[in-house]
């Protein structure tokens, strides 16, 4: 459905995206993971026909994204990463404008989405909060029932409850056979919806993997508080990967070996335990490091 073949874009400062190749099948939810500035948005701009590749091609539904942009756009819904709407109109007028430009006839799904996301669509756009604008953006991306939906950092700005609603909408659409391409800098965001994901770093793809593989590769940090320092000293002898310890508090890295982790900890008096929130680079640290060494 979506095909990137050696897609390369070099900017005057030497940065850009290099030789990006992967395919997204019909009905698949594909995640595009990378830290900020890695080239996610640049890749999406090529899919949307906003940029001309230096080399290689991007195509959706067998239409070239640059040469046949308007044919491509018939079949896609798009949620930009930065939400900036046209000024001087209400959310409703804005959605009507896009519907008009698409020649849309059926407004049932649009009304349904507005209902579900629970927001007042008649508010002038300049008075909307970030989350509210995000909702308008989501309606704009889904309302015309497109075959392919491209989302750039979709849940940023949504509160956790709305993120849940959003994930439900994505999963429903997936059931209808829609294809998704969504970028994110946070693994948990992708984890819940995607079948496969590509990881991009400094403009290059470093992995395209099934989401279960990625889950087993991810490295989680746990902050565990024990009762005494002597227990901490004992724990240091265990096979667990202990990053640091300070008083009764121990930080343990776990990657796949959850069972060992639980069994070891069961020997001690655990007072509290937290999952340490990490950046993408930290989650896939050994991945990023190993690839970095090769180059």
């Amino acid at each position: 459905m979506i095909q990137l073949q050696g897609l390369t874009k070099v900017f005057p400062n030497g940065k850009g995206i290099f030789d990006i190749t992967f395919t997204v099948e019909k009905g698949e939810v594909f995640g595009f993971l990378g830290p900020n500035g890695a080239g996610k948005s640049t890749t999406i701009r090529h899919l949307m026909g906003f940029m001309k590749p230096t080399k290689g091609t991007a195509s959706i539904n067998n239409f070239n994204c640059w040469n046949e942009a308007s044919s491509v756009q018939k079949h896609i819904g798009y949620l930009p990463g930065e939400i900036s709407f046209l000024e001087g109109m209400t959310g409703f007028e804005f959605l009507n404008l896009l519907a008009g430009m698409r020649g849309m006839k059926n407004f049932k799904y649009r009304d349904e989405l507005i209902e579900r996301l629970q927001f007042d669509v008649h508010t002038p756009i300049r008075k909307m909060s970030k989350g509210m604008k995000q909702k308008v953006g989501i309606v704009a991306a889904f309302m015309h029932d497109p075959e392919v939906i491209i989302l750039d950092e979709p849940t940023s700005g949504l509160d956790p409850l709305m993120q849940q609603t959003f994930i439900e909408i994505v999963l429903e659409e997936k059931k209808k056979g829609k294809t998704f391409f969504m970028s994110s800098h946070s693994f948990p965001e992708i984890e819940r919806t995607c079948d496969r994901a590509a990881i991009i770093k400094d403009g290059r793809i470093i992995a395209v993997k099934n989401i279960h593989e990625l889950q087993s590769m991810q490295r989680k940090l746990f902050d565990v508080v024990l009762t005494s320092e002597s227990e901490v000293q004992d724990l240091l002898q265990s096979p667990l990967d202990i990053i640091s310890h300070n008083g009764n508090r121990v930080r343990i890295a776990v990657q796949g070996n959850y069972d060992t982790f639980i069994r070891e900890l069961a020997k001690y008096n655990v007072q509290s335990m937290d999952v340490h929130v990490q950046s993408l680079e930290d989650i896939f640290m050994n991945y990023y490091d190993r690839r970095g060494d090769e180059r």
Binding site: K74, A99, G100
Partner: protein
């Protein structure tokens, strides 16, 4: 063109267009309204005779106050008309493209199955609709005002309409390069300073060229030299070449703007 976009854009910019039109029409009516008191006063004529020739020429007063058409040409069309429409062209051209590109909101429009050419063309049409509306309402106001406010003096309708037509074409080409800058630049402020800068420079060249005989050649490179309302009012201007030039310049600017816009990279 895309009708849905055109309609919505007119709705957004309609207020601006209407207020410029009303402002322009009222000022013209004011000028028409004060004409009788000036026409009958000998003092004014005397005062003008004492002024240096170059100075009068620069401000379009060299034709004197002979009749209402000349008076309107000198008092309204050689300065305020130009000012009002320049500001409209520069500001609106900027808002129709550069602002949307700078803020990224054009992404929503481009994500619909309409080609970039179509979208840019529609935006250009919105800009032009505004110019035509402002000039049209001004023309109507002038004719109606002369008819009802100062029925003792007559406005030469044919010359007055010619004046407005050339003015319309002048702003067709000024809006053309404003739109061009607006469509090819990424930064809203840069686009604004380019089109405002070029327009200001043109105006200065024209003014300085009129004031100082030595640098009269400067007028040859100013777009404003093509629009001489005072001479049109006297009926001794050869308008056809000027009209063709202005029309061609405008067309080229718009076509280039649309073509470059449809081929460029957009970081949105």
């Amino acid at each position: 063109m895309n009708f849905a976009l055109y309609k919505q854009m007119l709705k957004v910019h309609g207020k601006t267009i209407l207020s410029y039109s009303i402002g322009s029409a009222f000022y013209l009516l004011l000028i028409v309204g004060i004409y009788p008191s000036i026409a009958d006063s000998q003092a004014m004529e005397k005062l003008l005779k004492q002024m240096p020739e170059q100075w009068l020429k620069a401000f379009g007063l060299n034709t004197g106050m002979g009749n209402l058409t000349e008076f309107v040409a000198g008092e309204y069309y050689s300065l305020l008309f130009i000012l009002i429409l320049s500001i409209y062209c520069i500001m609106t051209a900027n808002q129709l493209m550069a602002r949307l590109i700078d803020r990224g909101s054009i992404a929503y429009l481009l994500a619909t199955p309409n080609s970039r050419q179509k979208i840019a063309f529609t935006q250009a049409l919105v800009l032009l609709t505004g110019i035509v509306t402002i000039v049209f309402i001004t023309t109507i106001a002038g004719i109606a005002g002369a008819e009802w406010l100062v029925s003792d003096y007559s406005l030469d309708r044919s010359l007055f309409i010619q004046m407005n037509l050339v003015g319309l074409l002048l702003f067709f080409s000024i809006s053309g390069y404003s739109f061009f800058f607006s469509a090819i630049v990424n930064d809203e402020k840069q686009a604004l300073s380019l089109s405002a800068g070029v327009t200001f420079l043109f105006y200065c060249f024209d003014l300085v060229g009129k004031l100082a005989e030595k640098v009269e050649w400067l007028r040859n490179i100013s777009l404003f030299a093509t629009f001489q309302p005072a001479e049109i009012a006297q009926g001794n201007a050869d308008l056809l070449p000027v009209c063709i030039l202005l029309f061609a310049l405008g067309m080229i600017s718009y076509i280039m703007a649309i073509l470059i816009f449809s081929k460029r990279d957009l970081a949105i």
